[in-house]
Amino acid sequence: MTLTVSVQHQLGDFTLDARFEAPAGVTVLIGPSGAGKTTLVNTVAGLLHPRQGRIVVDDWVLLDTQAGRVLPPHKRRLGYVFQGARLFPHMSVRQNLLYGRWFAPRTARGESLDRVVDLLGIAHLLARRPGALSGGERQRVAIGRALLASPRLILADEPLTALDEARKAEILPYFERLRDEVSVPILYVSHSLSEVARLATTVVAMKDGQVAAVGSPDAILGDVAVVGARHAASVLNARVVAHHGDGLSELATGAGPLFLPHIHEVPGATIRVRIAARDVILSRERPHGLSALNILPGVIADIRTGHGPGALVTLTIGDERLTARITQRSVRDMGLEPGQPCHAVLKSVAVAPEDVGTGRID
């Protein structure tokens, strides 16, 4: 299942000219404010008719201006979480949530209201009208409304921005589940790189109405040109091996075993772990007596430096590559050079739950 998007459109001075192709899963759109993310999502939703374009989900043609085919929004079977919730003011929260149900075909077995309400923590709001909800409450109802429409395509425009960390951490896994179990394709706009790392199957970086880069989260998050050196990260595929009594989970990765704080997946599950380059410490010798539990021996594959004081050092460890961001001063002091053996030191707790997602990346 692939998502093919190719649209050209003019809005005042702003030109949208974006093309990309993404495999099944979550396609995350990133880019600075005003880059055209919302505009692009709107064309996929059918709310904006681009001058020229073609949008195909698998074999299902949503738009093909050349063939003169334009599917109206209500036939696209969408669940669109808008930037700015757009709740129906004249309906109760419950009615808002169930609105899409009405129109979904009976056969589409969607989520149950109870489950979604529970997940979003909005049970106490069901009878309320949306007018006086708080910003975050509103946003959660909007997410619920989209999810409950039994969509064949989910569009989510910064769905979690108005929420606090705790709430985000509760809702993110739900999107993962949609991606992995229900396999609904998701087009997701985000400013948060940890959301990108966890969710994305494909990342589309936009700039000035154009697609600046497309790739796997590993490629894009490691791409300094896209995310900036400070946010560079590696994404490792991992398998849950065991949960230990002291609350740590043991993972097997191509780079060796990894100990992380408890991960809510059964042993055997495939997960992915984002490791921010700034969280990795390097050591020529194997260090002893450190509180950091994960020490992975590898070989320096590559050292990149830029304008700043930092350097990105990529190690090959087993089958994987892991990038560390350290100071150029350390590179010099330690005499690091490509080809040399080196140890990567990683704290267990440096990997936050928001950095651990389910599903492999390729």
Binding site: H74, F82, R86, Y99
Partner: protein, 232 residues
């Protein structure tokens, strides 16, 4: 009440209520449709439709009444058609009075509804469409509830106008007691004769009481609906 007024005037009151009620009820769907068309669609002849709707406002009522007579009268093209095919006769019937009232009130109704349609945030309608609602469903489930205050305002304006309509009614369907003699016709008749003032005044008071009751009711309903619609 009937005592205060005398039986004839009482008849006029009942008739006016019936005429105004049906005038509003029957024209409301059309009013909503036309208001929607004017507010949201674009089609050739839109300005003509707009003009047509306002016609009864601009023309002296007598002229409107005359045009109604020519069109919907027994020998008028539409009148004949209605008579032959549906057995509907409007001339000299209370139904004709209702038609006259509806036509005269139509511009007020349409404008009120149109204004509220224009105030509906199209992004909400777009949101509904992404959730699977087609045009008609969007209208019924989102637009319509949101414009309810405007519909109520339009209906009450139309009702008030219908209660007060005189010129077009008497010209179109005459002034037949129990059939087409509405309150204004009765008042007018009373005022034409010297000394009819006090009887006329009584009728005026009744008209006012009815209109006031309708207004207050509409105000209450409308405020309630507006609160619902504002989502608080």
């Amino acid at each position: 009440m009937a005592d205060f007024l005398g039986p004839d005037a009482w008849l006029a009151v009942l008739l006016s209520l019936r005429v105004s009620f049906w005038a509003v009820l029957v024209s409301l769907p059309l009013g909503i449709l036309v208001a929607h068309a004017l507010a949201r669609w674009s089609f050739p002849g839109k300005q003509v439709l707009n003009g047509l709707v306002h016609l009864p406002l601009v023309l002296p009522p007598v002229v409107t009444g005359y045009l109604l007579l020519v069109t919907f009268g027994r020998r008028g093209p539409v009148g004949q058609f209605l008579d032959t095919w549906f057995g509907i006769v409007l001339s000299f019937r209370w139904t004709g009075a209702a038609l006259a009232a509806a036509v005269m009130a139509f511009p007020l109704m349409v404008r009120a509804i149109r204004l509220s349609i224009e105030a509906v945030d199209p992004r909400l309608e777009a949101a509904a469409s992404t959730l699977g609602a087609g045009r008609a469903w969007v209208f019924v489930t989102v637009t319509l509830p949101l414009i309810l205050p405007g519909i109520i305002a339009g209906a009450i304006l139309a009702f008030a106008k219908a209660m007060g309509e005189f010129g077009a009614t008497i010209t179109f369907v005459s002034n037949i007691p129990g059939e087409t003699r509405t309150i204004p016709s009765a008042i007018h008749a009373l005022l034409q004769a010297p000394g009819g003032d006090s009887a006329a005044a009584r009728l005026v008071i009744v008209a006012l009481v009815i209109a006031m009751a309708a207004l207050v009711l509409a105000e209450l309903v409308s405020r309630r609906v507006a609160r619902r619609v504002s989502g608080a």
